[in-house]
């Protein structure tokens, strides 16, 4: 049995019984990470020494009956845009190539407080801007199912690590699909919580009104365990909120979808979707119907505009958030003859092309004479999109969609065509625009590559979201590892 291929729930049981130690699990994950390094490059930094020390500390706690939580001793990988004190945090960017995080992100601190073992930092698109993990300054991550393919993005390293067995679970961030889309492409579970459920403190800000941290895991139960460890109000993030009792993840699940109303947005099933993806999603929906769910067609009239709204609001927020990277207080400084040229050189050479493209689109959208036509207009259409979801989710309990319109594509295929790349986010960005929770779960394969099914829920109703995802998961069989010797 390979410990690195088990689930959190399974591993925690064996730790409890003394079948294995936390060190054994960490060792197995680290060995797999080493073996896969040149094949997939899921990690940019592997903190082997710190991980083994944390695992030993967990084993010692267990011997002394001082175990902290169900996550105590479980190895987890962390996306490289989240701060782990004393460990490099490059966010895949040359401007932070030598940057070491001075403190822990709140989510990382909470995982440590729960006893989890941090294995290292996973590769990502530069500052989380991309859908393929190709824009990283460290080079691309490859899909463990087929190393000629992209793993999705931007949290491609976290998704690949969980799929290939170099981590049991992982954290990522999702601004427009960056957890769910790579989860779909790598065949794992990826959860984007409701905006405000999880603290963003210590997450490098991309688009602050859209960003949210969330888990990757092999099962919905594991994802729920991680969510419970990281969620809740944080005084260091004023947009995080206290969770009402009704919003909590229950300790006992309802094991059925009987009586749940699931909505299929008719606008999503018209064009642009792969035939294989369409049929996999439809058969998953039929499966849920057989198990007692009621299926209903719903309408999101402004769905066609979600991507355009996203590609105005996100770059606008990006252009403001990334102004802090000016080569002054941290990061790469390239000296010029004066202050402004030092800014321009540091940023021009430190940022890659996709990041500079988005900063420029945002700068343009916010600039004098264009603000009303782009930024203000997009904020208005944002409200219409959010209202569409409110309406649809008053008719049904959850929406069901594909996570992405296609399976993973070839490395390099869309690299120089931003619009083609952006279209892969067509079913995910709207969720961030409306601030809703959503989860991607595996729902089959096409050409040997995983397909993802997305459930979208009401604000803070992760409970119902995960309930349906669990029932789907139970009906479709156990998790499939991507790893092939």
């Amino acid at each position: 049995m390979n410990l690195n291929e088990l689930t959190i729930v399974g591993l925690a049981g064996g730790l409890e019984k003394g079948d294995w130690s936390s060190r054994d699990i960490a060792r197995a994950c680290l060995d797999r990470a080493q073996a896969q390094r040149d094949k997939t490059k899921a990690y940019v930094t592997l903190t082997e020494e710190a991980a083994l020390a944390a695992a030993d500390a967990s084993d010692k706690r267990r011997r002394e009956n001082k175990t902290l939580s169900v996550l105590d001793g479980i190895p987890v990988a962390v996306k490289d845009n989240l701060m782990v004190a004393g460990v490099g945090a490059t966010a895949g960017s040359n401007i932070l190539k030598n940057y070491v995080a001075p403190y822990d992100a709140t989510v990382v601190g909470r995982l440590k407080a729960a006893g989890a073992v941090i294995l290292g930092k996973t590769n990502m698109d530069e500052f989380a801007m991309g859908s393929s993990t190709e824009t990283s300054c460290h080079g691309p991550t490859r899909n463990p199912w087929d190393t000629d393919k992209i793993p999705g993005g931007s949290s491609g390293g976290s998704a690949a690590a969980v799929a290939e067995g170099s981590a049991i679970a992982a954290l990522g961030s999702d601004t427009g699909g960056s957890i769910r889309q790579p989860a779909a492409m790598c065949g794992v579970v990826g959860l984007k919580p409701t905006y405000g459920r999880v603290s963003r403190y210590g997450l490098m800000a991309m688009a602050s009104s859209l960003d949210q941290v969330g888990p990757f895991a092999r099962t919905v139960d594991d994802a729920a365990l991680l969510l419970r460890a990281i969620e809740g109000k944080d005084r260091l993030d004023s947009t995080s909120v206290d969770l009402k009792p009704d919003w909590q993840i229950p300790s006992e699940w309802q094991e059925s979808v009987r009586g749940l109303k699931l909505g299929l947005p008719k606008e999503y099933f018209v064009s642009g979707m792969d035939g294989d993806v369409n049929s996999a999603v439809r058969s998953a929906v039929e499966g849920l119907e057989k198990l007692g769910a009621e299926i209903k067609e719903v309408s999101l009239p402004h769905a066609d505009y979600a991507l355009a709204v996203y590609y105005v609001l996100m770059p606008s927020e990006v252009s403001a958030n990334l102004a802090r990277f000016d080569g002054m207080r941290y990061g790469t400084r390239v000296d010029g003859p004066d202050l402004v040229s030092t800014y321009r050189l540091s940023r021009g050479r430190g940022f890659g092309r996709e990041v500079r493209r988005r900063i420029m689109v945002g700068t343009y959208a916010l600039s004098s004479g264009y603000y009303d036509a782009y930024y203000l207009k997009a904020q208005k259409v944002r409200r219409l999109i959010a209202q569409d979801f409110d309406q649809a989710l008053s008719e049904v309990d959850l929406l069901v969609t594909p996570t992405a319109p296609t399976v993973a594509w070839n490395i390099g295929e869309k690299f120089d065509d931003p619009i083609a790349m952006y279209l892969s986010d067509v079913y995910t960005v709207c969720v961030n625009v409306a601030g809703l929770p959503a989860v991607s779960v595996p729902c089959g394969f096409a050409k040997g590559l995983p397909i993802g099914l997305q459930f979208i829920g009401r604000h803070f109703d992760e409970k119902t979201l995960l309930r349906a995802a669990r029932v789907h998961e139970a009906a479709t069989g156990p998790f499939k590892m991507a790893y092939k010797k």
Binding site: V241, A308, D326, R347, G348, R357, K380, G435
Partner: protein
Amino acid sequence: MKLTPEQVDHIAGLARLELAPEEKAVFQKQLSSIIEYVDQLAKVDTGKVEPMTHSLSLENVVRPDEIRDCGAETRQRLIGEFPDRDGDLLKVKAVFS
């Protein structure tokens, strides 16, 4: 809308980004295609719609303005990240010259 080379230079200047000469034409084409794509928003009737800045209806989240000690280790790590320094002081180019 198609951007002119002058507009690309202007935006790069506002954004404090140095572009290599060979990049300018590529950016002009790619930025234009993105702007053309998002121009479709003009078709939506938003006459009476209020702009939405955020998905949560939070306002005025305040806390006391208190100094919290970050600890010596974090302080040293922060200082250690300075690209240029004089002792524990951060060195930057002259702002007024």
